[in-house]
């Protein structure tokens, strides 16, 4: 059976592209998996992963980059905050927390978005000062 006649060239290119994407994703996942497997004995990420990520952990210097469209869940994740820290600090009673945007928090509290954002940023600065 002659396979070369049956398989069209564009199928071969598709298979090569899919294989390359899967291989790249696999390598990335493996590296991330190895890192994530050691939460209590954190290891330094390899240099190439750091370069690939292209970002440093969010610190107090990144507080001005917080925007009203961000959710509290995302802000907690970005700054590695304890899940209830912002809720208790800002006295948020809405049941949707942390799946609540800063803009929604402003609307609920009858605040302007800028005022709500300033409150969140102050709470973040206070957290880093405590640390």
């Amino acid at each position: 059976m002659n396979f070369s006649k049956k398989i069209k060239p564009h199928i071969v290119v598709l298979l090569v592209v899919v294989a390359a994407v899967l291989l790249a994703a696999g390598v990335l996942f493996f590296a991330e998996y190895r890192y994530a497997r050691q939460p209590y004995h954190p290891v330094e990420k390899p240099a190439w992963i750091k370069a690939l990520h292209g970002h440093r952990p969010a610190t107090v210097n990144d507080v001005p980059s917080v925007r009203a469209w961000m959710t509290f869940d995302y802000v907690d994740h970005l700054f590695a905050l304890p899940p209830q820290y912002l809720q208790s600090k800002l006295k948020i009673t809405d049941s949707r927390y942390p799946r609540l945007t800063i803009a929604s928090y402003a609307a609920i509290g009858h605040l302007s978005q800028a005022a709500a954002l300033a409150e969140v940023q102050d709470a973040l600065r206070a957290y880093f000062t405590q640390q």
Binding site: L14, S65, T101
Partner: protein, 198 residues
């Protein structure tokens, strides 16, 4: 930042992959949404561990391909009927465009995946002409994987800084589009001159 973009980013953070699928699908069927900026953001969220890179690529490509197929099948099954019903005669330049797409379906479908507005129009044209579905879906997937993958990777590399570069990225996109248009015009002029000489 525009209100629509802020709304879409919140929607993305709240509903993650479902939101990504919906936005990409709607954008693929002619709804003008800022998908490049959103993909840049998704790449950055993936670098922060809030999204999964491979899952984001898979969902975005799948949604875009699904939207593209909708346009393709609508035009293929109903395009001519609708034109006949409305008694619309195709202008000459559309007929010429049809001929071009029919002659070079692969490169046309692949390249238009990189330009938001041209993408849905090519899907409609491909269905209208009756380009085989296997050829359409192959170049559509290939183009989507490459174009979406590039934007996600840029967002991944930029990480936290993606907001600073989103405008620049848009400018680079338009500059690239301008360069391609210029190349096509120059090639056409050169082709016409060659024909005149011969």
């Amino acid at each position: 930042m525009s209100a629509i973009l802020a709304f879409l980013l919140s929607f993305l953070l709240l509903y993650k992959y479902l939101a990504l699928f919906l936005v990409m699908f709607l954008a693929a069927i002619l709804v003008p949404l800022p998908t490049n900026t959103l993909l840049l953001a998704v790449g950055a969220f993936a670098s922060q561990g809030y999204f999964n890179f491979a899952a984001s690529l898979f969902v975005a490509v799948l949604a875009n391909a699904a939207g593209d197929c909708c346009g393709y099948f609508l035009a293929r099954n109903y395009g001519r009927k609708v034109l006949r019903m409305l008694r619309i005669r195709l202008p000459k330049y559309i007929v010429r465009l049809e001929d071009y797409v029919a002659k070079h379906p692969g490169p046309t479908i692949f390249l238009t995946r990189f330009f938001g507005a041209a993408d849905p129009l090519t899907n409609l044209l491909s269905g209208f002409i009756g380009i085989p579905f296997s050829v359409f879906i192959f170049y559509d997937l290939l183009g989507n994987i490459v174009s979406i993958g590039i934007v996600l990777c840029v967002g991944y590399f930029l990480g936290t800084y993606w907001q600073d570069y989103s405008k620049a990225f848009g400018i680079i996109g338009w500059a690239f589009f301008g360069c391609v248009c210029l190349c096509i015009i120059l090639w056409r002029v050169w082709h016409i001159q060659q024909r005149k000489r011969s």
